[in-house]
């Protein structure tokens, strides 16, 4: 793997923004460099569903002009951002990676799009995803499989597959994804980037396709923790339309970034997340990362969590009926346009009795109570993001593929969709086969600031987030 490649495409927003602000880097040049890179890499990675070259160039010229005339908005001004294709942009298609919505033109911008535009970001296109975001491997029979930039024979995980691979390959510095069982953090982990699932409700979902409304989260994916904080500053806060969006105060998410690890209590679960069934290279890498943080001021607290293994079942027990409801009307009219696999998975949920859904929601309350009690002892939990090494695409492709990988990938991430806690995956090492390993930092609800503080402190101690894939050429 390369280190410190002097390529503009691999610089973080935190590095690029000051150069744009002082006129040392033009948004026009940045967009041109990235569009060139996209045109060269896209055929082999399949990350984008649409690239908006013309409008991106126009927005870049406007940003340049505004900045030159002293109207600098902030750190996202002139920064290209990609969107998972379940987020509405007025006048553009929102397909959800499906045939069903292949001609679905959005009438208005999603709240997150309005906010990115207000922050001066340049929208560069729509990113590939799992069909209707209902899956964990990143594979899509209609839009094609996204290839992992670290090894194109391997999956990116999903469902925000394009969002992760586009950032990991240096096509864009940041993207938006969504997370219902781990769909931001799994691909972030597997592709070696940072991905933050904020607290449930922190970012409004107005204009974003539903999968499971009580579990769905929208969040940033970027090269570094600091970049995720910058995006959070633009995206967080109630919009008055999404009734689940949090109306409480919104802090400056960058405010704690440089406070380091002193007095931070890190909870390390003694069961489930580090058991023998977890890949040893992954668990050992995450444990040595925790040791590194302990030797730099953090206090480690071992936490028995015997109840936590029920979390994945609760996640699925809520998602299935909500997904059936979300798709009921579309399925009634366009069943033949769904891929057979997804259609059968959704239709199999039509038979779930109402009492099972209510039981799942009650179990969720029970689970949240237990988590809340455990969290009283610590500031954050640290665990692996995923329990297995990144499978080959062929291992996950029906009819011969092993579906078990798709079930195992979200075993850890889905826990925190159930609780709605902020949860952040960052790179913390590599397997002996050269694939990224992700570490998950999870905090108290509405305390993204501490999660980001711990993530940034770890990145200051290591350079894993600066590694880039070897087989992707520098294109400057």
């Amino acid at each position: 793997m390369n280190k410190h490649v002097p390529d503009i495409a691999y610089q973080s927003i935190t590095e690029i923004a000051p150069r744009i602000r002082r006129g040392a880097l033009s948004p026009v040049d940045l967009v041109e460099a990235l569009l060139l890179r996209i045109s060269r890499l896209e055929p082999s990675l399949n990350t984008f569903l649409e690239v908006w070259g013309d409008s991106a160039r126009t927005e870049a010229r406007m940003a340049k002009s505004e900045i030159e005339s002293g109207r600098y908005i902030g750190p996202l001004h002139g920064i290209p951002v990609g969107l998972k294709d379940l987020i509405d942009v007025a006048g553009h298609k929102t397909t959800g990676g499906s045939k069903v919505l292949a001609d679905n033109i959005a009438k208005s911008d999603a709240t997150v799009v309005t906010r990115l535009k207000a922050a001066g970001a340049i929208l560069i296109g729509k990113l590939n995803l799992v069909e209707f975001a209902f899956g964990t491997t990143g594979l899509n029979p209609y839009t094609g499989d996204v290839k992992n930039p670290w090894d194109r024979t391997r999956i990116t995980a999903g469902s925000s597959s394009g969002s992760a691979a586009a950032v990991a390959s240096g096509m864009i510095p940041a993207s938006l994804g969504s997370d219902t069982g781990g769909s931001i953090r799994m691909p972030a982990s597997v592709c070696g980037i940072a991905g933050l699932k904020p607290t449930y409700g922190r970012i409004p979902r107005t204009g974003v396709l539903d999968l499971s409304w009580s579990m769905d989260h929208v969040g940033p994916m970027a090269r570094t923790t600091g970049d995720c904080a910058l995006l959070m500053n633009a995206l967080a806060g109630s919009d008055g339309y999404d009734p689940t969006s949090y109306a409480g105060p919104v802090q400056d998410f960058t405010s704690g970034l440089t406070k380091g690890l002193a007095l931070i209590k890190i909870g390390v679960p003694t069961n489930y997340f580090f058991e023998d069934s977890v890949d040893h290279e992954i668990s050992e890498t995450v444990l040595s990362s925790i040791d590194l943080m302990a030797s730099n001021g953090a206090e480690i607290v071992e936490l028995p969590m015997p109840w936590v293994e029920k979390g994945r079942a609760i996640n699925l027990g809520v998602i299935r009926p909500e997904a059936v409801s979300a798709h009921e009307s579309l399925l009634a009219n366009y069943a033949d346009l769904y891929s057979p696999g997804l259609r059968k998975r959704i239709q199999s949920g039509f038979d779930i009795p109402a009492i099972d859904y209510v039981r799942a929601q009650r179990a969720r309350q029970w689970f949240n109570h237990n988590m809340s009690e455990s969290m009283k002892q610590v500031d954050v939990l640290i665990t692996p993001s995923v329990p297995i090494q990144t499978p080959m695409i062929t291992e996950c492709t029906p009819p011969d593929g092993n579906m078990e990988a798709g079930n195992q990938l979200p075993m850890f991430t889905s826990i925190f969709d159930v609780t709605g806690q902020p949860s952040h995956s960052i790179p913390c090492g590599f397997t002996s086969g050269g694939m990224p390993i992700g570490m998950m930092i999870t905090g108290h609800p509405y305390d993204e600031t501490t999660v980001l503080r711990v993530g940034n402190a770890f990145e200051k101690l290591t350079d894993w987030h600066q590694r880039v894939p070897t087989d992707i050429p520098v294109l400057n």
Binding site: A313, D336, Q347, A360, A363
Partner: protein, 66 residues
């Protein structure tokens, strides 16, 4: 009463305006088994006293001034 075989499942689906062939129903029995396993785990949890707090929340409203 849940359907006990794929033909019954397909028939019941049709009553609900769903397109599920008998062949589909066979595949779907696999998914249904997975779903049943999920709720088996959930049913094993004692949730006494853990009612969800916000299944329903009134939407604030008031008469507009004239």
């Amino acid at each position: 009463m849940r359907p006990t075989n794929k033909q019954q499942f397909s028939d019941e689906a049709r009553e609900h305006d769903l397109t599920i062939s008998v062949d589909d129903a066979e595949d779907m029995h696999r998914f249904i088994k997975e779903v049943a396993q999920v709720y088996l785990v959930i049913s094993s949890i004692d949730t006494t006293g853990f009612e969800p707090a916000s299944i329903f929340m009134p939407i604030p409203s008031r008469r507009e001034s004239q």
